[in-house]
């Protein structure tokens, strides 16, 4: 395991100790969700400003429009030039509306892919900063291929020859988050969350009542410590005391250190090795059982298919 990951591991143990070693309670999880969504929490442009003094934001997907819910550009920081892409929520009402609350449409993901192509051409590492309640649910987004844009963004990231790091800095919910999250290393800030869906969305579907968000959050257990234990996050990055919103400079400094270390490890690998390890990383994720099959028509594992028979023509 990598140095950064081990450091992350020590940190998780510290975190676990702080939580009394027992699983996080519902109210602790809910508190984390509030912190992950805190309106003063640093957003990608806050980190970029501090880590990449020279940053040039790039706009537009060259196909349809520009999506302000995703910021993307090139910057030179302590580790040289990089491509940075992130979900940008707004801080006040005007900006939130402008940025669509950090919910991208297909143009956002296509802008990301376009800038990743630049990274490939110029051999620049890619950093993504994830913070979204999900991809935007709207008829226009659907017409212009929201599903395909998310799928192809993952595919593009999977095929990158350059090193890549994703950092969940706030809330990472649904495919709208994962679209920027298929990387060599996945980091999560101490008070960030990563989940299949936002607690409100999950509550609306599973409890048929969006007000049951707290119950949903308790069930999804989307905290950094859990994601680290499940192998979804490789590294948990500490935040300043009280949370990243208390001290943007310190939050950026801490994140910058972890990114630098991981980047050095990744740059020691060949592009082919990085790509293979990236594939294997995602190929391995899953939790399932293997049972003895009682169904006589179903093939048992290891039996030659030619000698097994199944229910051709046996529909009910």
């Amino acid at each position: 395991m990598s140095v950064a990951a081990r450091r992350g591991g020590q940190f998780v143990r510290r975190l676990a100790h702080r939580l009394g070693g027992s699983p996080e309670t519902g109210s602790a999880i809910w508190e984390t969700i509030q912190l992950a969504r805190h309106q003063d929490r640093p957003y990608p442009l806050d980190y970029i400003e501090r880590l990449f003094p020279d940053f040039e934001e790039l706009h537009g997907d060259r196909l349809y429009g520009d999506d302000p819910a995703i910021v993307a550009g090139i910057g030179r920081g302590a580790d040289g030039p990089m491509v940075v892409i992130g979900h940008q929520k707004g801080r006040d009402t005007t900006e939130r509306t402008y940025r669509n609350f950090g919910m991208p449409g297909p143009e956002g993901y296509r802008k990301a892919m376009r800038v990743m192509a630049l990274a490939e051409k110029m051999d620049l590492p890619v950093i993504t900063l994830i913070d979204t309640p999900g991809a935007f649910p709207g008829s226009g987004a659907e017409e212009r291929g929201q599903g395909g844009a998310i799928a192809r963004s993952m595919q593009t990231m999977l095929r990158l020859r350059v090193p890549s790091i994703a950092v969940v800095i706030g809330e990472g919910s649904s495919g709208g988050a994962l679209a920027l999250g298929v990387t060599d290393r996945v980091m999560m800030l101490e008070n960030s969350t990563y989940s299949v869906i936002s607690p409100e969305g999950g509550a609306a579907i599973l409890w048929r009542d969006a007000a049951k968000a707290k119950e949903a959050a308790t069930a999804f257990q989307p905290t950094a410590a859990n994601c680290y234990r499940w192998g979804i996050a490789d590294v948990v990055v500490p935040e300043p005391a009280g949370g990243a919103h208390r001290d943007h400079d310190e939050a950026a400094r801490l994140l910058g250190g972890y990114v630098s270390r991981a980047m050095r490890e990744l740059q020691a690998l060949s592009p082919a090795d990085r790509r293979r390890q990236r594939r294997d990383r995602y190929r391995r994720i899953g939790a399932y059982r293997e049972v003895a099959v009682a169904d006589p028509t179903a093939m048992a594992s290891g039996v030659d298919p030619a000698s097994a028979s199944n229910g051709g023509g046996s529909a009910a």
Binding site: Q155, L158, I232, A287, Y288, R289, V291, P305, G312
Partner: protein, 330 residues
Amino acid sequence: MSKRPITVSVDRLLRKRDTPAPRKLPADERSCPKCQTHWTSDEMRRNMRVCAACGHHFPAGARERLDQLSGGAPWVELWPELRASDPLQFVDLEPYPDRVEKAEAAGSNEALVVAEIPIGGHDCVAAIMDFSFLGGSMGSVVGEKLARACDRCVERNLPLVVITASGGARMQEGVIALMQMAKTVVAFDLMHDAELPVIVVLVHPTTGGVWASFASLGDVTYAEPGALIAFSGPRVIEQTTREKLPPEFGRAETQLSNGQVDDVVDRRELPARIGKVLGILERPSGMAPAPAVTMARAGAERAANAARTLPDLSRRVVSKVLRSDDKGGR
């Protein structure tokens, strides 16, 4: 959009004259919701669960679809022993294991059935989703089966045919289910490197994380008439944006005009259409595989090796974190 609905029954296509006249009976699951025509179970089966009067496509189970695709030729199911576990000890209105148990009792073992099967005389691997199993939701088993299906294709130089029907990622497996999206994209990338074709058929409904991952990445993509194909469902969109959506929102015909699918294909024509595409894309046998194929094979082998250690890994993850996975086989 301008497609005329196809209302010819298979019997008529086969020049059989014994198609009975439509009957009107009290509504049940064999009554067409569109035109109220009632069909016997046998008529439904022979007509591939399509209303012969109006062309409405009824839901079809994965195994029945395999029979339809193979034209009754035998097929072999792969990895039926893979079953859902409960990594999060998830309880919403009902504990997840209870939901799984009920779904299994209803006859399917998971939301994806994989088989080796001939379609139109071409051997392939088919991965068919079953909406009746927990809304066709994609959890770890769906991801693992699809990944193994692609490995098998690479191993045996076979094309992949996928039929999707899903509400999206399986909420009850939390972020682990979300990650299956990336896992399926990895699997399709092996097909890409091995230069093997992937045909995707989108059936009603294909939404959420399935549409936003492998379902969008076919080389040739068909949709069944009337299928809802969307990342966000109409209800979610209406609640979020207060838009009023037309009934044709996200339907296969709309997605054809949006440029999201290659064609809308009647279920009764699917086996022939898929067979035709497989025939066009088939490589002459004995032809040396492209250099990329060798690479992809190596990749598939590594993946298969990784898969062999996977139960251990998942058990380790599950037991270490939540100590929940010793219900064992049933």
